[in-house]
């Protein structure tokens, strides 16, 4: 079995008309694309549509994609644009508040009941503080820590420079330290 192709190789093949290569790119990035769209659009249905249409637009725009540059920031910029358009069309002024899942997900290590309660309380506390941040600070925190995007990807998604990502993140963390005891 050969090694899996990386983004660059798949993009090159897709640009030559290899649809299977593009499908592989979609498969590799669909979860991140959807979550990014969810964060910005504020609804599951809009996020699904935004991610879906972004992949279609990216496919059509592949010829304009510069080979040798990273694919994911480019894709996520298209996703973010689609998501923002949907949010605007829907008249939603605020991005959604993040929530912790109600139950422990399968595969999570099972803590003791006391630890679970404490851990859950702490999670809720941190998340509540994140949700109280201004939208620009909340989004930069969510992109970097919840979606695990790089600074460059975060910059693409938010349409700002990487230097601005750094400064916003720094200020957001300062606010969180003030809000969350022991942070």
């Amino acid at each position: 079995m050969g090694r899996p192709l990386d983004d660059g190789e798949l993009v090159t093949r897709a640009q030559q008309g290899d649809v299977a290569a593009y499908e592989e790119l979609v498969r590799m990035h669909q979860a991140t694309a959807f979550r990014t769209a969810y964060l910005l659009a504020g609804s599951t249905a809009d996020a699904e549509e935004a991610a879906h249409d972004a992949f279609l637009k990216a496919f059509h725009a592949l010829r304009r994609f510069r080979r040798g540059t990273p694919f994911r920031p480019w894709l996520l910029a298209i996703v973010a644009n689609e998501a923002r358009n949907r949010r605007r069309s829907a008249g939603r002024r605020h991005a959604l508040a993040l929530r912790a899942a109600a139950e422990i997900r399968p595969g999570d290590a099972a803590p003791s009941p006391e630890a679970a309660v404490l851990s859950r309380e702490r999670q809720d506390l941190v998340l509540a503080a994140v949700n109280r941040l201004s939208e620009e600070h909340r989004l930069v925190v969510a992109c970097r820590y919840f979606l695990d995007l790089s600074e460059a990807e975060t910059a693409s998604v938010l349409g700002i420079r990487t230097g601005t990502v750094k400064s916003r993140l720094s200020r957001a963390l300062e606010h969180l330290r003030e809000e969350v005891p022991g942070a």
């Binding site: 008309g17 499908e23 979860a31 969810y38 993040l98 941190v126 820590y145 695990d148």
Partner: protein, 228 residues
């Protein structure tokens, strides 16, 4: 990384993100195969969805109808339908008003292989380069000054028994679509549906082109690649 940053990273797995949809499966049919065969299967899927959409009065969710767009070529949308729309026998092609090529609303692409057309016609933003006469068409090149898909611009309706294949074309934005076999119906803006024979559809920069009447795929591709 500070403790707060670690805490935020750990929190990621607890965030209640909805389950991501399987977008890849929506645009995937069958397993891996030769490139052209894979494109062929895809168009069959897209046109099948188109058929359902027609049957259901276009009551399809937005996300599903978007699937059609990826299989549109430039300004042309391709659908498979259970039944072709009614078409009248055509004894003379109605292509719009004859114009001087210099009066076209955009710079026309011309074929080095075909030379000057026998007539140039305009209907809205659709320009037809006719080789032969409206009564006896040898070849017809249609140019549409928009490669962004809009369902109203043009529509090809293909019936079962029509072979649809994606083909690479040098200079085209993405692959072109070759339609041959049983006649299919074509409807351009402002005109009735009519039956059409072998057709190649592709894009060249911002222009969508269709070539009707080539005898073979090889000939069609050679003509397509000669346009500039």
């Amino acid at each position: 990384m500070t403790e707060l940053e670690s805490e935020l990273r750990n929190l990621a797995s607890a965030i209640d993100f909805p389950e991501p949809p399987d977008i890849a499966s929506n645009i995937q049919v069958g397993g891996p195969g030769p490139r052209q065969a894979a494109w062929g299967r895809r168009i069959a899927l897209a046109v099948a969805i188109g058929g359902i959409a027609i049957g259901a009065g276009f009551a399809v969710p937005q996300a599903r109808s978007a699937i059609l767009r990826i299989f549109g070529v430039g300004a042309v949308k391709i659908e498979f339908v259970d039944r072709l729309p009614e078409t009248q026998p055509v004894t003379r092609l109605r292509l719009g008003a004859p114009i001087d090529p210099a009066d076209a609303p955009f710079l026309l692409l011309q074929s080095r292989l075909l030379g000057d057309p026998d007539g140039v016609f305009r209907r809205g933003d659709v320009i037809s380069l006719l080789y032969g006469t409206p009564e006896r068409v040898r070849l017809l090149v249609t140019e549409i000054a928009d490669s962004d898909f809009t369902p109203e611009v043009g529509k090809k309706l293909a019936s079962m028994g029509t072979h649809v294949e994606f083909v690479p074309i040098r200079g085209s934005v993405g692959p072109g679509v070759w339609i041959e076999g049983r006649p299919h119906a074509v409807r351009l803006p402002g005109g009735p549906a009519r039956l059409a024979t072998n057709t190649l559809i592709w894009t060249h920069g911002p222009i969508t082109l269709r070539l009707e009447g080539a005898e073979s795929l090889q000939e069609a591709v050679a003509i397509a690649e000669s346009l500039g």
